[in-house]
Symmetry: C2
Subunit: 215 residues, 2 copies
């Protein structure tokens, strides 16, 4: 049994944040597929044992089950030292992690879900609403990355793994061609050049679920 056991699903970019970190950090980990669309995380026993928030990822390590990708990344950086923000960058790391959870990843993930993961085609008004929100978030990240190699400066940190959640999924899924954002595109290229980098579907199982409408 690996030291780090990641309950995840290949379609979950929030799971991918942690999976990619574990792989690039070269840690002893294994993915445990969760049938998210099949309702596994709605199950009371699953929630009781692993996560009352009913979400993946959940990282099990040393007998503890941890949820929320950013909290997990912070804990891993603290305990392993890998991709940890410098001590004088703690506040900056924190606020960009919150901005990611509040807006960058969140808006992109919501748009992708409505774009390809709902059983029926989503309402066009909802897609337009989410597209506008996502584009606002992209604009802020684009401006930030225009003068930096990585989110906090010259070196990759956990903040980059957080922003990377959904940026490697196919355009047909997300509904966005991020190549249209030169700084974001160059940044994701630099991150993809790290040893251990793999795209989401190569790091985590999809299992029986969920059906991608765009596939």
């Amino acid at each position: 049994m690996a030291r780090y056991r990641l309950h995840c699903n290949g379609t979950s970019g929030n799971s991918y944040k942690v999976a990619l970190y574990l792989n690039c950090a070269g840690l002893d980990w294994e993915p445990i597929g969760v049938d998210f669309a099949g309702g596994a995380t709605l199950d009371g026993a699953w929630r009781e044992r692993l996560n009352p928030m009913g979400e993946v990822p959940v990282l099990e390590a040393d007998g503890v089950a941890m949820s929320q990708s950013a909290a997990i990344l912070l804990r891993l950086a603290e305990t392993t030292g890998q991709f940890a923000p410098a001590s004088n960058q703690r506040f900056e790391a924190m606020r960009w992690l919150f901005f990611d959870n509040h807006k960058f990843t969140n808006n992109l993930a919501m748009h992708r879900f409505q774009n390809c993961l709902t059983p029926r085609a989503a309402d066009p008004a909802v897609l337009a609403f989410l597209r506008s929100r996502a584009e606002s978030s992209f604009a802020i990240a684009e401006r930030h990355l225009a003068s930096r190699a990585f989110m906090l400066g010259a070196l990759p940190t956990i903040v980059d793994f957080s922003y990377a959640g959904y940026v490697y999924y196919p355009t047909a899924e997300t509904g966005f061609d991020l190549a249209a954002y030169p700084a974001i595109d160059a940044w994701r290229g630099r991150l993809a050049a790290l040893p251990g980098w793999k795209p989401p579907y190569e790091l985590m199982p999809v299992g029986t679920s969920p059906p991608l409408r765009m596939a």
Copy 2:
């Protein structure tokens, strides 16, 4: 000049999180009204000086401008010790703060904005989409608070101030009657009993903006 200067707007629940904390902690602070709806935060100079994310709140203290309410609350708890999570609750504090930014506050705030702050009535499909998301978040907080006085247990912490962002705004604005959630309702009552508690519009100026469609 007060030690803590909070750039904020009465209609911003994310600003309220910090304003309420500062007031309940009895710190030396003053609100500085920001004409959010009038586009103040879209201004390049404002972003350059205060927050490239273009959002309120921004807390100025000791010559530093800090943004992202949760990052600010974490910093204030660390530097003042007030409402700080216990050291063995750091991970738990972090994951509930991220859940709040990702879902609880976010879904409630998005619904309220579409419900009363857009220039024209929002699309019913968008409102229904956001309502469903908000209700899912409420259900998770409701279950969590059913067996706890505050988010982390017996004592109020910064996590409670984070969740409190939008829970005291009028139902006509938010579109939700939180009295329908007994545990959330009792919890916000306990928080409102703290010395220094005031509702959002008594702590922060609204100024000329924005017009509430429900007012």
